[in-house]
């Protein structure tokens, strides 16, 4: 699995999981950024031989904002709580 929801991943314990610290729904980066999509997929697949037992979660070294900013969390929270 390649996922963005670490708290959920910890609860459901997939056999092999790579965590990307991105907003849900943007696992492989921003729209049209093919290079970043390939980088994240490559990093996730490169973790495969490192898993030794079920339930391990390996954090990939990617962040949504280049400066490590977390303002995206407020936008995401508002989206998740918005009326449809």
């Amino acid at each position: 699995m390649v996922g963005t929801a670490l708290d959920i991943m910890r609860r459901v314990r997939p056999p092999r999981a790579a965590f990307v610290d991105h907003p849900v729904g943007r696992t492989f980066g921003r729209p049209s950024d093919r290079r970043r999509q390939e980088e994240i997929l490559t990093a996730a697949l490169a973790e495969l031989p490192k898993f030794t037992e079920a339930g391990q979660i390996h954090a990939l070294q990617f962040q949504w904002e280049s400066d490590g900013g977390r303002l995206w969390e407020e936008e995401l929270r508002a989206t998740l709580l918005s009326d449809r």
């Binding site: 963005t4 708290d7 056999p15 907003p23 696992t27 079920a54």
Partner: protein, 156 residues
């Protein structure tokens, strides 16, 4: 510290009780007996993706699945999932379904090959027993038929 989804999901669901998370009853671990560059890889997505000529998913408890060609030129991907987060991935479904990136990694020799088909289903379905006893085995049969070594799930 990673964003915590469970409290937000509980707040969003209120006054209904929060969603119950269910882990599989059977162990899913299987040892890796090939190197990454030998693997045939399939993508699994819970975003209810389909091609335009395939029948739509039906929110919210649809237990069907769609097989999507791994050819990036196979046609426009439509997102049927009802999630509020859909606006951005609808601009480019590859950010949740990296079909083109996987094909590129195969050309580069990083993986063996993409599976001829990837698999899409509806996430957030609450019929856990049917998922485990019907949907998951049906998908597993499809993957076995396609001689897939690795199924890579990207949750939505």
């Amino acid at each position: 510290m990673a964003f915590e989804y469970l409290p937000v999901m509980a707040q969003s669901a209120a006054p209904k009780p929060p969603r119950v998370l269910v882990a599989p009853t059977k162990p899913a671990w299987h040892s890796l007996n090939k190197t990454v560059n030998q693997l045939r890889v399939a993508l699994l997505t819970s975003a209810a993706l389909r091609l335009a000529d395939q029948p739509p998913f039906t929110p919210r408890e649809d237990l069907s699945y769609r097989l999507l060609s791994s050819d990036p030129a196979a046609g426009k991907i439509i997102i049927d999932h009802h999630s509020r987060i859909g606006a951005v991935p609808r601009q480019d479904p590859e950010i949740i379904f990296p079909r083109t990136a996987l094909a590129t990694l195969a050309i580069q020799g990083f993986i063996g090959s993409p599976s001829p088909v990837h698999v899409s289903f509806m996430g957030g379905v609450r019929r856990q027993r049917e998922i485990e006893n019907e949907l998951a085995p049906a998908i597993a049969r499809e993957l076995k038929q396609a001689d897939v070594d690795l199924a890579l799930l990207v949750p939505y």
